[in-house]
């Protein structure tokens, strides 16, 4: 079997709480593989630990427990110096906001910084390289001398993508890259991401909460709920035959253009996402699950493979078998 590019094993991140012994279990033992050249989508409601997972893989946060393997090598064991060399292969595109770009740096400086730090091109070629990067993402050359606040939302996002591509990475984490953009701009950015993936054979971890975007861009999808992965499968499996009740609810709650009005069949979840401080015992979804029964409250379901590559953690599978 092909070796995955990134392999996450039993990754955990607990945050301490102020003046309290309780922990916020943001990410609670997740495992998944990302193969070279694919896009792995991660969906879930806010607060389910999607972004934390992204940050843990890049070691922007230190995990409590678990392993992140890059080509079979545990990168969490690397020391600072060694990891820094690796950083140029792993990049991140954050959700578009002014906080991601230094408001006092010109676009030129923003793009040049990674080029110098990682010695990507010799100094006399810097100018050309910046022009090339701007051209790649469809920004005019004149924008070199602009400050971030002079760009519109979509243009800022293009600049952020250009910055991520500057170091010629192999793997990019896209953390909600389009969620704050208008639909017409959103499709431009998505097309750009797909274009670069084909040209430079990039691998993406695509984190988003809008399902149609994930459906569009991903090859495989993981669904997260309260720090755990409840279902992993290919794009088709997740969207055509969702198995976990939470996945079903997410998909049916998504307002789409094809279907008219809320009907009886739609699965509308009642109640709130429980707080990650005291996660319910047993299956963490049982408090909102319309199909939960006795066992769900006591035991915790494991991820089980139902068809090849399609994993679900739910007791209902057992019941049907």
């Amino acid at each position: 079997m092909e070796m995955p590019l990134i392999s996450v094993k039993n990754l955990k991140k607990y945050f301490n709480m102020f003046q309290s012994k309780e922990m916020i279990r943001a990410v609670d033992g997740i495992s998944f593989d990302i193969y070279e050249g694919e896009t792995f989508g991660l969906v879930g409601e806010s607060g389910c630990g999607k972004s934390t997972t992204g940050k843990l893989i890049l070691r922007l946060l230190n995990p409590t427990d678990g392993e992140v393997l890059l080509n079979g090598d545990n990168i969490l064991k690397y020391n600072r110096k060694k990891f820094r060399k690796l950083r140029k292969d792993l990049q991140i595109v954050f959700q578009n906001s002014s906080s991601v770009l230094d408001p006092k740096m010109f676009a030129y400086d923003i793009l040049v910084e990674p080029l110098i730090l990682h010695k990507i091109v010799p100094r006399y070629e810097l100018n050309e390289e910046v022009d090339r990067l701007l051209d790649m993402v469809g920004l005019p050359k004149s924008s070199k001398r602009k400050l971030p606040n002079e760009f519109s939302g979509g243009q800022k996002q293009r600049l952020i993508i250009a910055r991520a591509l500057a170091t010629r990475p192999k793997f990019i984490i896209c953390d909600e890259p389009v969620s704050s953009l208008d639909v017409s701009i959103q499709s431009q950015i998505l097309n750009l991401l797909v274009k670069f993936q084909n040209e430079y054979s990039l691998t993406y971890l695509f984190i988003a909460h809008s399902l149609n975007v994930v459906r569009h861009i991903s090859n495989r999808v993981g669904v997260m709920y309260l720090g755990k992965i409840v279902e992993i499968g290919s794009n088709k499996e997740i969207f055509k035959s969702p198995t976990h009740p939470y996945t079903k609810a997410l998909i049916s709650a998504f307002p789409n253009l094809e279907e008219k009005k809320f009907n009886e069949e739609k699965l509308i979840l009642k109640g709130e996402v429980p707080s990650p401080i005291n996660i319910p015992t047993g299956c963490s979804f049982h408090t909102r699950c319309p199909y939960s029964y006795g066992k769900c409250k006591k035991e915790e379901p494991e991820l089980m493979e139902i068809t090849k590559g399609h994993y679900v953690s739910c007791f209902l599978i057992e019941k049907n078998l």
């Binding site: 939302g153 208008d182 959103q186 399902l211 789409n256 094809e258 809320f262 739609k266 509308i268």
Partner: protein, 333 residues
């Protein structure tokens, strides 16, 4: 059918330094009793400013309603004094804002903020108002309303606060409810819950709703009629059952194609070229003409009018105006 709100040629401009921003530029539409009308458009298209104009809460002194009429039940809201408006706002017309976290007073208990509306508008006594407030919290499906009554906004999640905001907007049983991107900041599951709640309450109180959003999916699920805005102007107005089949304006068509569909997967998404225009310069031409794919020569020097193509379906585009068919037809011949 009786019209509850009738807006005619509304123009709201902002004067900043020496620039004039033409945020809303000649918008006309009406809402019938018990109807859900939705305004869609990208950011900067003037949706929210339209809503603020109705409520009379345009930030002063920068913003100014230049001209137009806003008839609410036959009375012009723009002619009313601030005192008279106060009696209407929150009572007859109420609004739910986009960011629920920022719209509640963080230092007051939720219960008090709910009660305040009743005490001011309905002249209720504290005790009675409290009873009504708790009742309202129950209606919007907030678990444990007695306890939540004494909570502060920071103690609740985003979805819960939005429900409180809806409760607050509905507590005086308004005739018109404006939802200004009310579900944009929420998760899909919460969004679905709130939308079904809104629809249920609409039936219950026989309200009219003005739904402002940029999500075509939501519109398709609950609205009766859609108004497409762009650059401060209405480009198209159509009944909901035509949105999947018979959209006419190139912008609306583009917008529909831009959205990735959950049912099918494509390799390349359609995208509208260019960016949303700056509203500083007033549009003498069609606001969309720079990005339009179906642009013809005349678009460079002609402002199309909003014409009714068929019943309830209005379009502002040269392609559909008879005048042009005549002129352009001749020119091409």
């Amino acid at each position: 059918m009786e019209k509850i709100l009738d807006i005619k040629d509304l123009k709201t401009y902002f004067y900043i330094d020496d620039k004039v921003v033409h945020a809303v530029d000649g918008v006309s539409f009406s809402i019938n009793m018990g109807e859900i009308v939705s305004i869609i458009g990208e950011s900067g298209s003037g949706k929210s400013v339209t809503a603020y104009s109705i409520m009379g809460i345009i930030p002063k002194p920068y913003g100014k309603i230049k001209s137009g009429r806003i008839l609410f039940k036959g009375e012009d809201l723009l002619q009313k004094s601030e005192k008279e408006l106060t009696k209407i706002r929150g009572n007859k017309i109420s609004i739910v804002y986009q960011e629920p976290m920022n719209s509640l007073n963080p230092r007051l208990k939720i219960g008090y903020q709910l009660m305040e509306c009743l005490m001011i508008h309905k002249k209720m006594k504290r005790k009675e108002a409290r009873k009504n407030a708790i009742e309202m919290l129950k209606i919007v499906n907030i678990p444990d309303p007695e306890k939540r009554y004494n909570s502060y906004p920071y103690e609740l999640s985003g979805g819960m606060i939005q429900k409180v905001m809806i409760a607050m907007a509905l507590i005086c049983k308004p005739d018109l409810l404006i939802l200004d991107e009310a579900t944009t900041a929420l998760d899909v599951t919460t969004q679905a819950e709130i939308l079904s709640l809104v629809e249920e309450l609409k039936q219950k109180y026989n309200m009219s709703i003005l739904l402002i959003t940029h999500d075509l999916g939501i519109v398709n699920q609950i609205a009766d009629r859609v108004i497409v805005m762009y650059g401060g102007k209405v480009l198209e107005s159509l009944p909901i059952n035509e949105i999947t089949k018979e959209v006419l304006h190139p912008y609306t068509i583009g917008l529909m194609k831009c959205i990735p569909k959950i049912e099918e997967k494509k390799d390349v998404l359609y995208s509208i070229k260019g960016y949303i225009p700056d509203l500083n310069s007033r549009f003498e031409l069609c606001p969309f003409h720079e990005r339009c794919e179906k642009k013809v020569e005349i678009c460079d020097n002609y402002m199309p009018k909003l014409v009714e193509i068929k019943k309830d379906h209005l379009v502002r585009c040269l392609l559909y105006s008879e005048e042009v068919e005549k002129n352009y037809g001749n020119a091409s011949n």
